[in-house]
């Protein structure tokens, strides 16, 4: 049973169709790399999964439960979507850390706010908050930034900020962690540290969807690759197949352009 199943996902912006019926599924513990040129729709696909864009057609199921169906308005109310969102985590290209909070608070904030909704929060307040903080500190160990807990985002390098952003997404224990070109906004010498963290997550069998331009990295870290062009899935399969022996003409042309660049 796939943990994520996307069927016929469509999205238009005005008259421009960006996604024209995307189908794919993802098994638990699998890392899926999505590649494609700029404007192919891969970022839009990721934003649809996180409901930053509402798809115009198709459905999204997590653990066999339909969490979004474009033909069923009941799945589209704001409150519903806010809850369903928590199945997914998203790491942005531009980090988007909250500048007024320390690295630690960036990671704990959402958990604290969710905990406040719980019925038993008032009695066990102290305990719950310490628990959240301790879990966050474990995440900082994982990303190798335990010495930067109380730094503000502007005091961190881009690579460090992105690692904190990864910890922030992980803190809510999403079923599926999405990455939107996580290293594209970084200086080349800083991409390594971020890729290392993602690689360690893959080793721990974290379920991930990674939109990336780093072909080498996609090959190493992913279990499957999806090549998207002009809003459709052109080719899907094992990284060795898609990236080394592509069958489709469009995939070949795309990869050629990349190796020449």
């Amino acid at each position: 049973m796939p943990i994520l199943e996307v069927k016929g996902l469509k999205k238009c912006f005005g008259n421009v169709a960006v996604l024209e019926g995307i189908d794919f599924s993802l098994q638990k513990g699998e890392a899926l790399a999505i590649i494609g040129s700029s404007g192919s729709g891969k970022t839009t696909l990721l934003r649809c999964l996180n409901f930053l864009e509402l798809p115009d057609g198709g459905s999204i199921s997590v653990n066999d439960e339909i969490i979004f169906d474009a033909s069923v308005p009941a799945t589209q109310s704001e409150e519903e979507i806010r809850k369903k969102r928590l199945h997914f985590g998203l790491v942005f290209q531009s980090f988007n850390l909250f500048p007024q909070y320390t690295a630690l608070k960036n990671v704990t904030l959402a958990c604290e706010l969710l905990a406040k909704d719980a019925a038993d929060f008032k009695e066990d307040r102290k305990e719950i908050l310490t628990d959240i903080e301790n879990r966050a500190k474990l995440l900082f160990e994982q990303i190798g930034l335990s010495d930067k807990l109380y730094f503000y985002p502007h005091q961190l390098s881009g690579g460090q900020q992105q690692r904190v952003a990864i910890a922030r997404a992980l803190a809510l224990n999403p079923d599926i962690l999405c990455f939107d070109e996580p290293t594209s906004a970084l200086d080349p010498e800083l991409t390594g540290e971020v890729l290392k963290v993602i690689r360690s997550l893959a080793d721990k069998k974290t379920t991930m969807v990674i939109v990336t331009h780093e072909m080498q990295f996609a090959r190493e870290v992913s279990d499957n690759v999806l090549f998207i062009d002009a809003g459709v899935v052109v080719e899907a399969g094992k990284p060795e197949e898609v990236l080394l022996n592509p069958k489709e003409e469009r995939t070949k042309r795309f990869l050629e352009r990349y190796s020449n660049a």
């Binding site: 996180n50 409901f51 930053l52 704001e78 806010r82 809850k83 969102r85 928590l86 997914f88 985590g89 998203l90 942005f92 531009s94 988007n96 850390l97 909250f98 500048p99 007024q100 909070y101 904030l109 959402a110 706010l113 969710l114 503000y152 985002p153 502007h154 922030r168 997404a169 809510l172």
Partner: protein, 214 residues
């Protein structure tokens, strides 16, 4: 006409200037927020009204607005005029609402979309996103332009004399008929001290918010 009597007289005038100043702030700061929401609204009629209001008010002199509020009701409709202070406050609050609304708008629109989106994907409600993430960033962005505008307001209070409200400069000016100029210079001291205090206050707030960058 010794120093002490002049000081007392000027203080009386300055008291009126202070009333104009504080009540204008008190009225225009929240109203400006309302108008800025109007200017950013997706509902077109509201947006057009708000933008039109800002255009008219910022595009005409405060002195003209003051005259219209004070003389308008009587000359146009034969009504009794507002008391002077009321007329001044109406004109000032309307005028500063327009300016503040534009400062708020630029502050709110300046917060990157990514900040809202980061809050959304973390499952926060709209209210949580506004109060926990956006608000403080907006405050930090608007402190410098607001301090500018508020310091301008201190000096704009002197415009109240066009409808003969006895604010501090008008008081000092009465002495010139007796051939004495120094009370006019003396009013400058009041303004300088008041604006100096505000400058210190805003500097303090800016330093308080200096621990993060937006």
């Amino acid at each position: 006409m010794n120093f002490l009597t002049v000081t007392t007289k000027l203080l009386e005038g300055f008291w009126l200037s202070c009333i104009i100043f504080f009540f204008t702030l008190f009225g225009a700061m929240p109203l400006g927020l309302l108008v800025s929401f109007g200017s950013m609204s997706k509902f077109r009629p509201l947006k057009i009204i708000s933008k039109g209001f800002v255009w008219v008010i910022r595009g005409t002199p405060l002195m003209l607005q003051l005259m219209i509020v004070y003389y308008g009701p009587g000359l146009m409709f034969g009504l009794t005029a507002f008391p002077k202070m009321t007329a001044v406050l109406i004109a000032f609050i309307i005028n500063y609402t327009a300016y503040f609304s534009e400062i708020y708008r630029s502050g709110i629109e300046g917060v990157p979309r990514g900040q809202y989106e980061a809050g959304q994907v973390l499952g926060m409600t709209k209210t949580q996103i506004f109060f926990k993430i956006i608000l403080l960033q907006v405050v930090k962005r608007i402190v410098p332009p607001m301090s500018n505008e508020i310091i301008t307001l201190v000096k704009d209070t002197s415009l109240a004399r066009v409808i003969a409200l006895m604010e501090i400069i008008m008081v000092a000016f009465t002495y010139t008929t007796k051939g004495v100029i120094w009370p006019l210079f003396y009013t400058g001291v009041f303004y300088l001290v008041f604006c100096g205090g505000l400058t210190l206050l805003f500097g303090f707030i800016e330093r308080k918010l200096d621990y993060f960058r937006v």
